[in-house]
């Protein structure tokens, strides 16, 4: 066991999302390929959160997400030789996770149970026109300590169509770059930007009534005028 791994296990083995230096990650990959298979746990530890959240974002179910995230990591372990090092290990692992979660989703025929009010189920064409103009200013991050706020955000995310949710999760929750997101999902960077814009606007639209509080404080427009014209 390496000194870093040893230190971590002594500290209780809590997963750290801090990425390993690229050179060290490559060294680990090489050593694992040469037979030091137990080092895979160290390689994958910084990506555990990403894998779980990605699976959760697609499946929207904690039990399924746990299972699929584990399966994805084990599959990546078993097929490590297929990773050619053209991208970062985490990007490849994310792609494996997305494929695994999509497969599970198809297998369980969840598609037929999509909510009727799923946001953005149409194509990417056409501009999204905001409908709610609540003056949603600064929301302190401390509000996330409140479970009802987190539940509200999770519910809003779940209401997005899958293609927007995947892009949003990788870009804004996992903080992947546009290029990494495109590579992980298998779409072009341009499509990532288009879907990201729509996802962000749809979420804002979806959350504005709750967090923007326009029920009590709607913006007043002049009578007879249409907004955005």
């Amino acid at each position: 066991m390496s000194s870093q791994a040893k230190a971590r296990s002594e500290s209780g083995g809590a997963p750290s999302s801090e990425l390993l230096p690229l050179a060290y990650e490559r060294e680990l990959l090489e050593r694992i390929r040469r037979g030091e298979r137990e080092l895979f746990a160290e390689l994958v530890r910084p990506y555990e959160r990403r894998v779980y959240v990605t699976a959760y974002a697609i499946l929207q179910n904690e039990a399924d997400a746990k299972e699929v995230a584990q399966e994805a990591i084990l599959k990546a372990f078993a097929h490590l030789r297929q990773f050619r090092g053209e991208s970062r290990f985490g990007t490849w692992l994310t792609r494996v996770t997305i494929n695994e979660a999509r497969m599970r989703r198809r297998k369980e025929h969840r598609e037929i149970m999509k909510p009727f009010n799923e946001l953005g189920s149409e194509d990417d064409e056409g501009q999204l026109v905001p409908q709610d103009f609540a003056d949603w200013r600064e929301i302190p991050s401390e509000t996330l300590e409140r479970k009802e706020v987190r539940d509200l955000l999770v519910k809003a995310l779940a209401s997005l169509a899958e293609k927007y949710r995947e892009v949003f999760v990788l870009r804004d929750i996992q903080h992947l770059s546009i290029e990494e997101t495109a590579e992980a999902i298998g779409i072009t960077p341009g499509t990532v930007k288009t879907r990201l814009l729509r996802a962000r606007l749809m979420l804002r639209e979806s959350l504005a009534p709750g967090l923007g509080g326009n029920w009590s404080r709607p913006l007043v427009f002049e009578k007879g005028t249409k907004p955005w014209t």
Partner: protein, 199 residues
């Protein structure tokens, strides 16, 4: 340049990510100072990015990591298991080789056939003429009582090529005749030699 609200919405995501040209950024900055609606949309979209990007937003279930590492540990073991498999397969190959040696011992060898007639036609001279019948499956020494139906003569070699087997009754006679002929020819040869040397 005065921007339309639609242009601001179209670029709002790139604006937040800092991926717009300086000129466009300045135009958007100016627009949101005079347009409350776009200012609200920009602030709300920023909040979305900030809130969802917060590490507290999604928490990994406490048991996820330990369960995963238990499974990883199990999966890391097959490499050692593979060594055992290799040893087992080597042992299996050794056993197979030993079995082959044992079964090749004389005790297990197939015994030779005892009756001469059990090895039909092995000693029959291929050039000798034999009799075959059209409705039979065997060839015979001329005069064999087992010849039935219309018959014809042919060399042993040809009879065997056509699929005839030797008659077990007269084959012994065939061989006996062959040996008799061989013995008489040897006798004649020795008499001739004696006569030649007497001269």
């Amino acid at each position: 340049m005065d921007l339309k609200c639609e242009e601001v919405w179209r670029e709002i995501s790139n604006y937040i990510d800092g991926e717009v040209q300086a000129r466009l950024r300045a135009d958007i900055d100016h627009h949101v100072t005079v347009c409350k609606k776009c200012a609200a949309v920009l602030a709300g979209t920023r909040n979305v990015v900030q809130l969802y990007g917060d590490v507290r937003m999604f928490e990994i279930p406490a048991e996820f990591s330990p369960a995963l590492h238990r499974r990883l540990l199990l999966q890391a073991r097959p490499e050692r298991g593979a060594a055992y498999t290799w040893i087992l397969s080597l042992a299996g190959a050794g056993l197979a080789a030993a079995a082959m040696i044992v079964f090749s011992l004389p005790r297990f060898a197939v015994p030779a056939l005892r009756a001469p007639m059990s090895e039909p036609a092995l000693r029959a001279p291929v050039a000798n003429l034999v009799v075959v019948s059209d409705d039979g499956k065997t060839f015979h020494v001329p005069g064999c009582t087992f010849i039935h139906g219309k018959s014809r003569m042919m060399p042993v070699e040809e009879a065997m090529r056509e699929g005839y087997n030797p008659c077990i009754r007269c084959e012994a006679e065939l061989i006996r005749r062959l040996e008799k002929n061989r013995a008489s020819s040897q006798l004649r040869r020795s008499e001739r030699d004696e006569l030649d040397s007497g001269d």
